[in-house]
Symmetry: C2
Subunit: 351 residues, 2 copies
Amino acid sequence: MTEAAEEERADRAYVTLQDVARDAGVSLATASRVLNGTAQVRADLRERVLASAGRLSYTPNAHAQALASSSSKSVGVVCHDVSDPYFAAVARGVMRTAAEHGMLVMLASTFRDPAREIEYVAMLRAQRARAILLIGSGFEDRDWERAMAAELDPYQRTGGRVAVLSRHRSLKVDAVLPQNREGAAALARALLDLGHRDFGVLTGPHALTTVADRLGGFTDALAGAGVRVRPEHIVEAPFTRDGGYAAATELLRRGTRPTCVFAVTDVMAIGALAAFRDRGVAVPEEISLAGFDDIPIVRDLTPPLTTVALPLDAMGERVMGLALREPAARRSRIERVAGEVVLRASTAAPR
Amino acid sequence: MTEAAEEERADRAYVTLQDVARDAGVSLATASRVLNGTAQVRADLRERVLASAGRLSYTPNAHAQALASSSSKSVGVVCHDVSDPYFAAVARGVMRTAAEHGMLVMLASTFRDPAREIEYVAMLRAQRARAILLIGSGFEDRDWERAMAAELDPYQRTGGRVAVLSRHRSLKVDAVLPQNREGAAALARALLDLGHRDFGVLTGPHALTTVADRLGGFTDALAGAGVRVRPEHIVEAPFTRDGGYAAATELLRRGTRPTCVFAVTDVMAIGALAAFRDRGVAVPEEISLAGFDDIPIVRDLTPPLTTVALPLDAMGERVMGLALREPAARRSRIERVAGEVVLRASTAAPR
DNA sequence: GCGCGTTCAGAAAGCGCTTTCTGAGGTACC
DNA sequence: GGTACCTCAGAAAGCGCTTTCTGAACGCGC
């Protein structure tokens, strides 16, 4: 390349395919074909194009490519909170799988604001994301479901792919579904086996499908054994560590103390454990505590937490896999994921 | 809209601005101006355009917009691992700030592969991300630095903004820099004050700038007090929970046991704590343990971890803020962030 | 030697927007 | 009433690619 050409290039914002083609002395079409391997091109032209592209350090404009080919290399992922360990663990599988497919991930964090979730889906639609993943529990709210469907349906009709992890009565989309009911029920039975009869539950906002399922599965299984959870032993709080702390504190305040407490997520259980420690209530000696999810950190708590283990990383992988695979024939695909009860030192037989 | 028009629309993949303009009986230009508020438009035309856009549920094609206006609404964020609690905490601030600016975040996870990091920067460049954020320690490796600069320099010359969190001898970019040396030094002095004289250090790959700084700051401060860390008490391992576990195990295996151990990150400290527990070494009675970062979970460990607290969320906010603000006059801006020593129950006076 | 089928490079038509340029129509002022 | 100026809608030129269409060049069979 001559000095003059070099200078001219410095003016322009970017090196374009046009520049490469000119430098290589071929047409735009040929340059495009070489760089994409779309068609056979005579060897010497090939070489020239490749050489020019390298020399000019050409970077294709992904927007132009997306526009011209009407397809993009990005997928959207919507979550509640990136700093939630549950999401973090799932995201790992999501990111890995995306990378394997050469996809870029656009991440949106709703901070549990339903309106914002819908807004983000609209943005991802505008970005022509190839697929949209909804990670985390949906809301059991008619209006919200309608609004979400209003975004998702046109998106899917125009070739967009949607997959969700956890949720969603009304959305006709591919889904990876942890067996929340069954897992919670199995946990209940395991705790019954330990000898517990008096339970407390620290639960999240009941509008979340996940909460409803876990709470329902747990209490139903207990009921099956003739055990009822006293209403004042069910405490609702935000779906966070601090929510768990507050709920556990409230539970202790209410007087009569259960022998075993189930927090519907590990994150809440962590807060509960801290609350018990701060109040001098020994776990598991005075009270047993169990969670749900098996986020990585709970193994390192003292005591390590009894929980229902979900293969979080693999779930992320599968949900991204669903979204990237060929669309289903007609109906949505459902992949159920079983949880496995893991008894650790945070639970013991009641005294 | 007539049935025929409705039907015609169903064929097309998307509703375009053209469709809206036609439906409203105005020109493309006018429709664009109304939707973007770019210029004054007569009230009745305005209304018609807005109504049509609503009725057709028009979603602009972000790629077309980006191409035509040569600007985009997305920023790229490159991290090592989304599931690392350190990144998760920082990401929270990053995501919040991005949302406040109406930006979409494209997230890339390198899994600590230097080559992949550079590859991602190229992808983000292709996507014409308005800014690129590099979160996490850089590599002290000439070749890598050169290759990274080769991507970043042209990007910045063409108007791209780059900001980093932690690192980077050679990159001329805006940066948020935790005071790793100073923080580690302050921690060292605090531990000396507790009475410790015999230290161990669990460290990460020394090619990471963060590791070098923290290790250096710690040992230098000790040296200033006439205390040397015995070489066999410095154990290098991967920058992970399991790395910390392995390093602590190795440290115990080596025989003579220090009275106090510093793990260069909280994540490693968590692993170390587990290793000590598994080996029956009481913390802090038999050995004191300190970390660095103050990731949220360490407060809930037993014992809660002494550490150097970094305002992780705020750091994320600031690095995104740097990237979104007007570019600096000429030189890169540096924002230093001080760490604060927080003594918790994992450290105590030696016996 | 001629027609036919192939192969492959180049011309050109978009993809869906933004934005400059053009010109119509209205207003203010002399 | 005519000129100068202003406001604002529409025409059209791109943005940087992909991809269809066109046609040149060549090899082959009869």
